[in-house]
């Protein structure tokens, strides 16, 4: 999940450029995940795996895991938290305590969601829309006369980061530092004397330092921000401790700074390379929500989520031992032709779209309504000013695997 070397040809929005059969007759999930063309068009890899080995055991040396590709099996995992736990052993992301609420199982999970859900409800998110729109307009105005920009660096990274840091009450002037910290967890760059895990653990320790300092400060001087709000909230007699607030903040740090960036990159990349479909949105901006839901499905910017089995079980006919890490491949479920009509076609008129881009079951993405608002605002403000654009000549888009950010999304218009 940390492969950041992926490079791909541009201008290939069919699923034709990458051929899973090239990777040695029988598909090898690991080889494919390291294949640059697959990072750009993972739908091909998903199909190859569903057909050949839908519950895949992979050995990564340090860890081994089982990858789950079919929609039916993905649903089974997401809806059975008592078998498929989210406890912190499911994934190593530099944490020293479980992240809240991501790595909390029932029944405690509900206590935390009860406090957090109202803060991220559509009604609360609507209050942030004007400010988000002003930020988006500002960022776009800065580049609109240039005729070119790296969309990832100019818009997709700064916009959600700013929204999130403001919400959480973290200082904006430290945005670059925070972005580097989340990248140290999500895309650790191993060095000669440090493994990915070393880099993650060191970065994690720094994130804790930052958050512990801010939370301690808010305990003394409450502000009008989320961190202060968490410290004073109480549900059913349950109060959050300063450690709880740090553990929530750690998760938000990773989730809030990265996922909307990756989603914006994937959507703009698709629309840049598919002018006819982009024109449908430009001609009728009221279709923006359908465009967002369909591209969330097809692109699935967060490709998978982890679980760990709490007992021996069986999935898709395969026995699985207790304590096995499971990677739930949301992107594959979202394009599974057994479930979807024309799953590999992007169709903004799709009548039924029950995609799992935000996961499913009780861990459904807490920030999904915030994410949708940000995506809508950026797509609206962007296309109002830049209706025609394409990928700059000669650029090979560099999709990161796992979380599909494109760090060189150079556009021209």
């Amino acid at each position: 999940m940390s492969d950041n070397e992926a490079k791909t040809e541009t201008g290939n929005q069919g699923l034709s450029d990458a051929d899973p059969a090239d990777v040695d007759g029988s598909p090898d999930a690991l080889a494919m995940m390291g294949d640059p063309a697959m990072a750009a068009c993972p739908q091909l890899m998903y199909k190859a795996m569903r057909d050949a080995d839908p519950v895949t055991n992979v050995d990564l040396g340090e860890i081994s895991m089982t990858m789950v590709w079919r929609h039916e099996d993905v649903i089974e995992v997401l809806r059975n938290p008592e078998v498929y736990s989210s406890r912190e052993e499911a994934v190593e992301i530099g944490q020293k305590r479980p992240l809240i609420p991501l790595q909390i199982d029932p029944p405690d999970h509900a206590k935390f969601r009860k406090i957090l859900d109202p803060l991220f409800s559509p009604k609360k998110v609507a209050l942030l829309e004007d400010r988000t729109r002003a930020l988006a307009a500002d960022l776009i105005e800065k580049v609109v006369d240039d005729g070119t920009c790296n969309f990832d660096k100019a818009i997709a990274e700064p916009l959600p980061s700013t929204v999130f840091l403001e919400l959480l009450g973290l200082p904006l002037e430290r945005a670059a530092e925070f972005i580097a910290l989340k990248d140290g967890i999500i895309r650790p760059q191993a060095t000669a004397d440090k493994t990915d895990t070393d880099v993650r653990d060191e970065t994690g320790a720094r994130i804790y330092e930052v958050l512990e300092a801010v939370v301690a400060e808010r305990v003394e001087n409450p502000q009008d921000d989320f961190l202060s709000g968490f410290l004073s909230s109480e549900v059913d007699g349950h109060r959050l401790t300063p450690d709880d607030v740090v553990d929530i903040g750690y998760l938000f740090f990773l989730a809030g700074l990265d996922t909307v960036t990756a989603s914006l990159d994937c959507m703009i990349s698709f629309l840049a390379q598919n002018p006819e479909q982009r024109q449908q949105l430009v001609d009728d901006p009221s279709r923006v929500n359908a465009v967002i839901e369909e591209l969330l499905r097809f692109e699935t910017p967060v490709t998978g989520v982890p679980r760990i089995t709490s007992r021996d079980t069986e999935l898709g006919g395969c026995p699985i031992k207790a304590g096995t890490t499971i990677m739930v491949m949301l992107g594959s479920a979202n394009t599974d032709e057994e479930f979807w009509d024309g799953g590999d076609d992007v169709d903004f008129d799709r009548e039924v779209n029950k995609h799992l881009a935000f996961g499913g079951g009780l861990h459904r993405c807490l920030g999904s309504h915030l994410a949708r608002m940000e995506l809508r605002v950026v797509l609206e403000e962007w296309h109002r000013r830049v209706p025609n654009y394409s990928i700059a000549d000669g650029v090979e888009l560099n999709y990161s695997a796992g979380l599909r950010q494109i760090d060189n999304l150079q556009l021209v218009w």
């Binding site: 009604k123 839901e293 499913g360």
Partner: protein, 64 residues
């Protein structure tokens, strides 16, 4: 036609009230609620649309 959201299954994806706000509303936590149990004739298609798009299969429709 009757419509019912199973509160145990609903996880707050918000697809129903986004696609068919005439039939579904959201509560203060972002979870779906039915605006009525007996769906007016002219809103039956909207009710079906919301139910068909629920990622958790939490909405049941009872055709009359």
């Amino acid at each position: 036609m009757k419509v019912h959201i199973n509160r145990e299954l609903c996880q707050g994806h918000g697809r129903c009230y986004a696609l068919a706000p005439e039939v579904y509303d959201c509560d203060d936590d972002g979870y779906g609620i039915e605006r009525f149990t007996d769906v007016p004739k002219q809103l039956e298609d909207n009710a079906r649309r919301g139910a068909n798009n629920c990622p958790e299969d939490a909405i049941t429709i009872e055709e009359s």
